[in-house]
């Protein structure tokens, strides 16, 4: 381990010590007590041997006082040692868990604070592991830390005790213990890369299994079970071989750690015998030092554990710090949004671009590399929207139509102020959305995205999101979203838990639930971003018809592909390559905009194409 990592690792520990000074003090106090008493126990054992056991055996008699003294000393040592041990382990654990909890809260809060644009630049998996595995790794060394501190303490007093007893015998210790420390460091350095590789291969095995089981239907329908098993077995074998390498290193290390102190004891016996002959030490001294050797082997290992955890801790800490140090939060104004009825929405010279990670067949993938806002500026950007002027009159239903990549979804996120435009302004009833008080937009507008998100919570909470909303209103919203019948069929109705550990819903059901979530809030601006794409066309028609039928005094923006959906709108806004290409009624646009015409009639084109093909085929066969 290079000294830079060590220095940084110690700095990370220092952060924890400063955060929890009292708990750390108690843990280290316990460790010191345990260490001190452990060394003292060797002295006690030596004294008991010298003053009680050997005289008694030599003289064939002893006194009750001597025996009671010896027994109470030994018992006292045990009690103190146990207390020290308990304090050390209890507080070390407490410190570790408190730091983990504190940083998990901090990271999650930061996730809630940072703007959506930041989220879009970071892959989900990375953010999840920042909050879990990285926090855990960062505070990993806190568990062995007090013991390691205690061990250093123990080694110092043991060295002093040995020196005080006999400097020649102490020399043996000065050879054995540094040797143990060196063996530890060498082992950690050798095993870490191999172990890291094994961990990686373990994750790989899991990935292969996950993917293969996810695609089980494809595997089965193409009869590819054998090749899949081969692929998995290959991954499992790579893991096996890496694990065997790690195992071989451990197998080597353990006997070395066991044998070194044992050889030390044997050396002490031999040298001690010579020293006794020359009258320099007593038999008790010898027993004491020999016993110290057996005591010190384990604590020396704890230093190895501490060092071993450090590289992971440093990496985890760096990642967690990167999240906590991330810049950018959404600033709000103080203007409330008064009044009732559908919002009037204006977009004025709105432009938006995002960091161009890399382009692969037209699909931008999320940026993995950029961490700092400074970095973002340097990256090439892709323009999504430019110079968009648009007024959406209060209470109207507007369909947003355009080919893939025209900027429809981006426009919906700008309306919700999930992102801010690079240039221009978005206004609700004449007020710049950036001037609005916090929570005002969420209170008055609702967005239903294409991929519906379901919280691991009850159906009711998924609709109300914790708001105090009457069940009757919840059912009303579910009915409008055509979600009432499947919710009623769930085992516990509104109280049914959804998600990983609960009931799972189909794509269409999730979308309908998300729609109910938006409707229950009686939004003044309702934005549906292709929100019913996974719903059967028949059901979709019912839902949209239902929205039109009720007096929903809201401005509605619908991103739509299906012609029936478009036709429900009062007005159509046709987007192409990030600009408003045309707007008007469906009939008008069909008439005058060739791009629009081509787009909405593509389904029919496909049908005609097929009929033509069939005709040709028939002629050929004839």
């Amino acid at each position: 381990m290079d000294s830079r990592v060590l220095a940084e690792g110690l700095r990370v520990l220092w952060v924890a010590i400063r955060a929890e000074p009292w708990i750390f003090a108690l843990a280290v106090g316990g460790a010191a007590l345990h260490a001190g008493v452990a060394v003292a126990s060797a002295t006690v054992l030596g004294r008991v041997t010298e003053d009680v056991i050997l005289p008694a055996f030599a003289q064939g008699e002893t006194t009750t006082g001597a025996l009671v003294a010896a027994a109470s000393l030994l018992l006292a040592v045990g009690v103190l040692k146990g207390l020290g041990l308990a304090a050390r382990r209890l507080y070390a654990g407490l410190m570790q868990f408190r730091m983990q909890a504190r940083y998990r809260q901090a990271v999650a809060r930061k996730y809630l604070d940072l703007p959506l644009s930041w989220h879009q630049r970071h892959p989900t998996g990375q953010l999840l592991s920042n909050a879990n595995a990285d926090v855990e790794a960062a505070w990993g060394p806190l568990a062995p830390l007090p013991m390691a501190v205690g061990s250093v303490f123990m080694l110092v007093i043991a060295a002093a005790a040995m020196l005080l007893t006999d400097s020649v015998l102490a020399l043996v210790g000065f050879v054995v213990f540094p040797a143990l420390a060196v063996a530890n460091v060498v082992f950690q350095r050798k095993v870490t890369p191999v172990d890291t590789r094994a961990q990686m291969l373990r994750a790989r095995v899991s990935e292969v299994a996950h993917e293969s089981f996810d695609g089980a239907l494809v595997v089965k329908s193409l009869g590819r079970e054998d090749t899949e098993t081969e692929r998995f077995t290959a991954a499992a074998h790579r893991l096996r071989d890496a694990q065997i390498r790690v195992g071989r290193m451990r197998a080597m290390f353990d006997p070395v750690m066991d044998s070194l102190p044992n050889l030390g004891v044997l050396a002490v016996l031999l040298i001690g015998a010579i020293r006794i002959e020359s009258g320099a030490v007593s038999s008790g001294d010898l027993v004491q030092i020999a016993y110290l050797f057996t005591l010190l082997a384990l604590p020396v290992r704890s230093l190895g554990w501490l060092l071993g955890d450090m590289p992971r801790s440093v990496v985890g800490w760096r990642r967690v710090s990167a999240v906590l140090g991330a810049q950018g939060r959404t600033e709000h104004g103080r203007t409330p949004l008064d009044g009732e009825g559908g919002l009037r929405v204006e977009l004025d010279e709105v432009g938006f671009s995002y960091v161009d990670a890399y382009q692969e067949n037209g699909n931008a993938t999320r940026d993995l590399s950029v961490q700092s806002p400074e970095g973002i500026e340097a990256e090439p950007r892709t323009t999504v929207l430019s110079d968009v002027h648009l007024t959406l009159a209060s209470g109207r239903t507007i369909a947003l139509v355009g080919p893939t990549g025209a900027g429809k979804s981006t426009l919906t996120t700008l309306l919700m102020r999930l992102v801010d435009p690079d240039s221009g302004t978005v206004r609700f009833n004449g007020t710049d959305v950036r001037e609005l008080a916090p929570g005002e937009i969420a209170r008055t507008a609702a967005l239903v995205p294409q991929s519906a998100f379901v919280f691991e919570d009850t159906v009711r909470d998924n609709v109300t999101l914790g708001g105090d909303i009457d069940d009757a209103l919840v059912w009303e919203a579910l009915r409008l979203a055509r979600a009432d019948s499947f919710v009623a069929a769930l085992p516990e109705g509104l109280d049914t838990r959804l998600g990983e550990r609960g009931t799972s819903l189909s794509g269409g059901q999730r979308q309908r639930l998300a729609l109910a979530r938006a409707l229950v809030r009686r939004p003044r601006l309702l934005i549906l971003d292709d929100a019913t794409s996974a719903v059967d066309p028949q059901v979709e028609a019912q839902i949209l018809g239902g929205l039109r039928d009720i007096e929903l005094s809201a401005t509605v923006v619908v991103v739509a592909y299906r012609r029936a959906t478009i036709e429900l709108a009062d007005e159509v806004v046709y987007l192409e390559q990030g600009t408003v290409h045309d707007r008007g009624t469906h009939a008008e646009l069909l008439e005058r905009s060739p791009g629009y015409h081509a787009l909405v009639t593509a389904y029919e084109n496909a049908a005609e194409q097929r009929v033509a093909d069939a005709a040709t085929e028939q002629e050929v066969t004839r």
Partner: protein, 611 residues
Amino acid sequence: MSAPAPTRPDRAEGVPTNADAAPALHRSTDSAWATLRRGLALSPEFAHGLLLTLFLALVATAGRIVVPVAVQQVIDNGLVAEGGPDIGFVARAVTVCAVLVLLTGICSYFMNARLYRATEFGLATLRRKAFRHVHDLSVLTQNSERKGALVSRVTGDVDQISAFMQRGGVLLIVSVGQLIVATVLMSVYAWQLALLTWVCFLPLLFGVRWLQKLLSKAYLAVRERTGDMLGVIGETVMGAAVIRAHGTETRTARRVDETVLATRTAQVRAQRLSMAVSPFAEFIAALAYASIVVAGVLLGIAGELTAGELVAFLFVITLFITPMIMATEIFNEAQNAIAGWRRVLGVLDTVPDIADPGPRGRELPRGPVSVRFDQVSYAYPSGPLVLDDVDLEIRPGRRVAVVGETGSGKTTFVKLLTRLMDPAKGAVLLDDVDLREVAFSSLRARVVMVPQEGFLFDSTLGENIRFARPEATDTELVEAITEMGLGEWLTGLAHGLATPVGQRGESLSAGERQLVALVRAYVADPDLLVLDEATSAVDPATEVRIQRALERLTSGRTSVAIAHRLSTAEAADEVLVFDAGRVVQRGSHAELVVRPGVYADLHASWVTSSA
């Protein structure tokens, strides 16, 4: 709503049926001991060279008493020898013991290295067997478990076994060996003191067992709380847009706090239990030391013990402490391993309800295939009938569209047709052969299904298509794509066949994933093609491509498609209309659309929604 009463399935002689078997994974109820024995037997590699490994373990364990014996010998025969210490004796004793220490160290190395090797080989075998078996299970059984739970069977569960085989199990053997060796040595010195030591330590051993039960509950609580916590933290990331759109940051933050603190509380509680043993072991050890010194001195005065023996005793007691401290961990790992084995065995013990007929399986000849449903009924386990006495025939080369409301039985029809399930009653026949008698290899080669979601593997476009036929060359793949009228799409991709598709194909659009799935089916070249059309809307350009590809794919084969789009039904030679588990209408689109009935109603709603 009155559902038809479920009928008991008739079992044809020798034909396996599944309808009354629960599709879920087998839950093993074997005792811990039986599970352990069966688990070990699953991987013969565990036993490979086990005798030698055990012998090495014995030597390594015995080596632990070398030092205490050396101390005793040196004190009794070297130091308190008449006329001062006998340096010659001490030197000889120390040399012999040093050699023994080195030898046992070497034995210990080989023991551990062999153990790692044997267990890792065995565990890899276990993973492979379980993995293969998961794929052999029927779709119904696979879907009865969360995917994550199935993945655990070949990852986490096996890792728990490995933790026991390489640590807990070894510690168990070493600890038991250590206790035996120590007891024997003590008894040689003074049986009274050996007894006394056991009297001190025995209550601890029982206490540990009791504590361990509390502990495994506490660990379970930690796992559950951690799962909840990660779920909520995950929402702050995956639900970022929803949380902002609905302004629920405060509520989410509160939920994060609650679950994080609940996790911390559970962790602290578990830790308090797990660390409790060590201090108690220290007290007990101190008690043992004190009683042994007192008793030992008294015995010594009585002439039954030497000074060296008594001191050696004090060294031997340390051999008692570690097994006691380790015992909770050993019990815990053993319990986890047995639970792991039980879950893996649960997979392996689940008999696939849809099985290959084996050697007596029949081959279907190539060429357009005919389909016959002979009075077929189906009910999901403990559910109502979803397919009720369906009797129909599809002639070779026909293009059939299946339509119906959600829950009408159309999906079940398709699953029976591809033998993802077996009928509860009646038979499905291809070219007049019962599907249950067709060899899997032949069935999968001739009948290919394209599911609704075009699932892709995290690899390149080419590899995903090749999945259908591993021996296909790049040229053949390009040819296939061109034949399907997708040549221009392929050339539009920056890297052509080498284009990475991302996890589950997510770098491609939903429509493009569908295209790849269609090409894949085309390359597989089946005689019966079964399609479940995707419902999600795609952009019109892709829609045109999909239609064109479907056209090429179905030509010259028998095809059955669950239609979600009007155009698919229009294009079919024949439409099967399902309602409440029965085929209620059958005919061409042109015939059906003018007749009042289910199809005309469906058509009307389609027209309003898509034209």
